[in-house]
């Protein structure tokens, strides 16, 4: 393979990895606090893309207001999902919580099919993002640069919030010990709501950039990225934000490189994540950056 082609795949993989990372952070935050796979997260991501699509195609608003509105709407949706489906089950067995999240995901998908229709829609890309930069003989869309840059900025802000603010400290406290955090006068429900808001916001940013990179929208588009990003979070070490980012990049680069180097296996692209998951769970169940937890007997 020529170096030029390789560079193109590399840039592609990095931007896909960034998108996965944004989505994986949402999983890791929620899992860290509630010990729950939020199956609805992928569908929240899908809704953000559709929200961006409808606000953009109304063509009244400038693109940045449309995107901002889409992000805010998605954030509200995330909070509502938590309030409706997870809060009533705080003291229920974990299996009920898991089924509830599957039910929520199913509900959002079916609503999307009813309201958005099953036919694919094309995401309108603002002209500003729709350029191609040529470096030497390598042609790279601007978007492939913008996506990782935005991801890094957001990651920096998030890490700052988690490590340097009171809310962040409370988040870490809740994820370390739910009951003890409550005894320390932390309003656990508020922190959980905040976590869902952050997770959904990141998913929305990822969703809109996903829409620009892969502009074909269908109501079930969130499912596969959703499951893959949970896997990315597990690979990196669940509950760990840096781990989720690492996992996202491994998965994104891995998928693109698999298709690039072994075109014969391109049909198995979606299976790559699951095989990676099974290897990681068998070799290092806590993930690459996860802490080792001794199992209580």
């Amino acid at each position: 393979m020529e170096i030029k082609e390789f560079l193109q795949h590399l840039v592609n993989g990095i931007s896909l990895g960034s998108l996965y990372a944004l989505l994986a952070i949402g999983y890791t935050l929620v899992y860290g606090i509630l010990r729950l796979i939020n199956f609805a997260h992928g569908d929240i991501f899908m809704i953000s893309t559709y929200a961006g699509f409808y606000l953009m195609s109304s063509a009244i608003l400038p693109w940045w207001i449309a995107f901002l509105l889409a992000i805010i709407l998605t954030c509200i949706l995330g909070i509502l999902v938590e309030k409706a489906a997870y809060r009533p089950l705080r003291d229920a067995p974990r299996i009920s919580l898991l089924i509830s999240s599957i039910g929520m995901s199913y509900l959002i998908e079916n609503l999307a099919i009813v309201f958005f229709g099953g036919r694919p829609k094309t995401f309108p890309i603002p002209a500003i993002f729709d350029r191609i930069i040529t470096i030497g003989s390598v042609k790279i869309p601007t978007l492939s640069f913008i996506i990782p840059v935005i991801t890094i900025i957001i990651l920096a802000i998030l890490l700052h919030i988690v490590h340097n603010t009171k809310t962040g400290m409370a988040m870490r406290a809740v994820s370390t010990d739910y009951e003890a955090a409550r005894l320390m006068a932390i309003d656990v429900n508020k922190i959980i709501t905040f976590t869902f808001a952050v997770g959904s916001t990141l998913a929305a940013v990822g969703g809109i950039m996903w829409g620009m990179k892969y502009p074909s929208l269908i109501p079930l588009m969130g499912v596969m990225p959703g499951i893959k990003c949970f896997i990315a979070a597990v690979v990196g070490g669940i509950g760990n934000i840096r781990g989720a980012v690492l996992g996202g990049f491994i998965l994104g680069l891995g998928e693109i490189m698999l298709v690039a180097f072994m075109p014969a296996l391109s049909g198995y692209r979606d299976a790559f994540a699951f095989i990676l998951l099974i290897f990681i769970l068998l070799a290092k169940p806590t993930g690459l950056m996860g802490k080792n937890l001794a199992e209580k007997v």
Binding site: R35, L36, I37, A84, A85, P88, L89, A92, R94, I95, S96, L98, I99, S100, I102, G103, M104, Y106, L107, E109, N110, L111, I113, V114, G118, V223, I227, F230, I231, V234, G267, Y268, D270, A271, A273, F274, I275, L277, I278, L281, L282, P285, V297
Partner: protein, 348 residues
């Protein structure tokens, strides 16, 4: 008492099949199709309930094992001439091209292959618990689907298989269902079943009592895969057409809905809700089309049916977590000692 129970059960089974015979002759073809579908969903719900409800291992792999069963049985029963014309992109591998067998052996082989894959999958996956297990089994089910899509010369890839022999009549579907119900009832009340329930309640305590966790989980998972495979094969021969998209995880969600509605960990619940949910799903088809009220027509919204079903799932899990039956079971003792019979005895 025990003899009495067996006799009562036999009578009930005979009565049930007589009822089926009557329904089968009274119903039109659409209605019998729903009747057949009910039996299949009962089998599938029991399969998922065995691993999720009785063993407490949250698995979401049913659709994958159904796909294996459906494809195995389809390939084994299709006439060679039909195979030759169906596989037009790439001819079928020679060792499968000339096989044609009757339904029963195909069904059993479908179950066995599905169980074998389940056994192989279970070995690594069952080391995981709860949500990790859920995501890993969901992953395997998707891998199975991806592999089926790509094995062009065995499964015909994304084109699917059309014109499967229409073997699944009422007798096959409910015959298999009744066998599964009896098998499950015997299993759950045997020492194996008690071991599985002990694992569900407390793995550590169960291990301390000398129950081999891994072997028992493996056993439950394999049996569950077998049933899912058979159910998938029955479904394939009912639909007449199978393709990889049919076996997405949403199919597993539908079966999960049945199990949750019936009560996680109840055979009776799975059977009742398998019938209710299947019938309701068909009945609700009217929501998708236009409803004519005589004086006005409510415009139908395609897909509304599934919205109603997902709302139902949410309501049940949020407010009626026990489902119809909880973990209770139907038993003759319960019927015989109920107030109705007691009163009659007093009168006598």
């Amino acid at each position: 008492m025990k003899k009495k129970k067996i006799i009562l059960s036999l009578i009930a089974i005979i009565l049930f099949f007589s009822l089926l015979f009557i329904l089968n002759s009274v119903f039109n073809s659409h209605q019998t199709r729903i009747l057949r579908l009910c039996g299949i969903y009962v089998v599938l719900a029991l399969s998922l309930n065995l691993i999720n409800g009785f063993t407490g291992q949250f698995s979401l792999g049913t659709a994958g094992f159904m796909a294996i069963g459906a494809y195995t049985s389809a390939i084994l029963t299709m006439p060679p001439a039909q195979k030759a014309s169906a596989y037009y992109l790439e001819p079928i591998v020679p060792w499968l091209a000339d096989i044609e067998m009757s339904f029963l052996p195909a069904l059993i082989i479908a179950g066995l292959i599905s169980a074998l894959i389940g056994f192989i999958v279970a070995a690594p996956v069952l080391r995981l618990r709860d949500d990790y297990l859920a995501i890993a089994t969901l992953g395997f089910s998707e891998i199975i689907r991806v592999v089926i899509t790509n094995l062009q010369n065995i499964t015909n890839g994304s084109l699917g298989l059309k014109g499967l022999p229409n073997y699944t009549n009422v007798w096959w579907s409910w015959g298999v269902a009744v066998v599964c119900i009896i098998f499950m009832a015997l299993l759950i009340n045997s020492s194996y079943g008690r071991a599985l329930k002990a694992i569900r309640e407390d793995e550590i305590a169960a291990e301390a009592m000398g129950i081999n966790l891994f072997r028992n989980k493996l056993f439950a998972f394999t049996v569950s895969s077998f049933m899912a495979g058979v159910g998938g094969a029955l479904l394939g021969h009912l639909m007449g057409t199978i393709d990889p998209l049919m076996f997405r995880f949403t199919l597993t969600y539908n079966i999960l809905l049945i199990v949750v509605v019936g009560g996680i960990g109840s055979i009776t619940g799975s059977v009742i809700s398998g019938v209710i949910v299947t019938v309701a799903m068909e009945a609700l088809r009217i929501v998708d089309g236009n409803i004519d009220l005589g004086f006005m027509v409510i415009k139908g919204i395609p897909g509304m049916r599934m919205v109603i079903f997902s709302i139902l799932l949410m309501v049940i899990i949020l407010f009626f977590r026990r489902g119809i039956m909880g973990t209770n079971e139907f038993s003759w003792k319960w019927i015989l000692e109920s107030k109705l019979f007691k009163k009659r005895k007093e009168v006598a």
